[in-house]
């Protein structure tokens, strides 16, 4: 019973909001429309793609995507059409340009810094405490003195 529940939970996918009357008769165009819709952010419910959003504007945009595809637009032309009206904000994959360099590069910079720190930590733990290997002449004398006194003590 529990196993069945777990299987069902993992089988659950986000429900598509695409309504039957929106679906194009051409399956190739429809699948392109679905791919594009999944990459376009709904401007009302902001962390949802228009493909799964139930809002009115999302539905209008889905219909618009299909209309552009039927009119013969390429995928890029459809994206450009949306960006012209709603900005880069509608793209779930932000483009590579001067305002997004930080966004794209930050993960690598942080990973490099982290890696550098890890390497430093391992180096230090392998090397052991510095200067432990050698003693100064004075320290050798004191050490010899102490050990001598100790051994004398036990001998008595």
């Amino acid at each position: 019973m529990i196993r069945l529940l777990i299987i069902l939970v993992f089988m659950a996918t986000s429900a598509a909001a695409v309504e039957p009357d929106e679906i194009l008769s051409d399956p190739a165009l429809e699948s392109r429309a679905r791919d594009i819709s999944a990459n376009l952010r709904c401007v009302v419910c902001q962390n949802e793609p228009i493909d799964t959003s139930n809002s009115g504007v999302a539905r209008d945009l889905r219909l618009l995507v299909r209309e552009r595809l039927v009119a013969g637009d390429t995928d890029d032309q459809v994206y450009d059409y949306m960006v012209a009206r709603y900005g880069d904000y509608v793209l779930f994959n932000p483009p590579w340009k001067s305002t997004t360099y930080v966004l794209w590069l930050a993960p690598f910079v942080i990973a490099l810094l982290g890696g550098f720190c890890v390497i430093m930590v391992f180096r230090r733990s392998n090397a052991g405490p510095e200067g432990a290997a050698t003693l100064t002449a004075d320290e050798e004398d004191i050490f010899a003195d102490v050990t001598k006194r100790n051994t004398d003590g036990t001998a008595q």
């Binding site: 401007v43 009115g56 504007v57 209008d60 618009l64 012209a84 009206r85 709603y86 900005g87």
Partner: protein
């Protein structure tokens, strides 16, 4: 190396502090969507008038020969905040003598006509956008939304939500004054 590490907790604290200072700033609205249309000319659209009220429709051409800034308000009779905003806009038109045009978004003409009869019609022109297509051309995400278009037909300001608070009214007046100043 050890000396450098002493400052590490301080650096971490500063970074967390800065993130908090930015993130908890009450003026920052995480839901605000930057508009792609600021600085762009008015999109191409052509809307008929609302049936039954005998006014003028609204199209891109109407912005070409404006003598000053135009306020564009997207509204609908089914939108409750629009009702509150309507009084503020009516007063602004009366007091500031500005040109207000409307886009009636996804509304039934009869409902819109009844709404305007009840509350009054401060708009010089209203385009009836029954499909919502003109709304998409303007890049709106809902109603109400308000734009300021300068005399050259360039969109200079966008406000999402009803203009009912004093703060909203102040930012709108500021944008209008700027649009006016640029052309004089």
């Amino acid at each position: 190396m050890n000396r450098f590490l002493i400052f590490l907790p301080l650096c971490v604290a500063i970074v967390i502090g800065l993130a908090g200072w930015w993130g908890l700033n009450p003026d920052r609205d995480p839901n605000s969507v930057p508009s792609a249309l600021i600085g762009q000319p008015v999109p191409i659209f052509d809307l008929p008038a609302i049936e039954g009220i005998g006014g003028l429709g609204l199209s891109t051409q109407d912005f070409a020969d404006a003598s000053g800034p135009t306020l564009v308000n997207v509204f609908a009779s089914w939108c409750v905040p629009c009702r509150a905003e309507h009084a503020v806009l009516t007063r602004m038109v009366r007091e500031d003598n500005l040109a207000l045009v409307g886009i009636n978004y996804k509304d039934k003409p009869a409902a819109a006509a009844a709404w305007l009869t009840e509350l009054g019609n401060p708009y010089v022109r209203i385009g009836s956008d029954q499909t919502g297509r003109a709304g998409i051309e303007w890049g709106i995400s809902g109603v109400p939304e308000t734009f300021v278009v300068d005399a050259d037909g360039i969109i200079v300001f966008r406000y999402v939500g009803p203009i009912t608070s004093d703060a909203a009214l102040a930012t709108l007046r500021n944008a209008l004054a700027q649009a006016e100043g640029d052309n004089s």
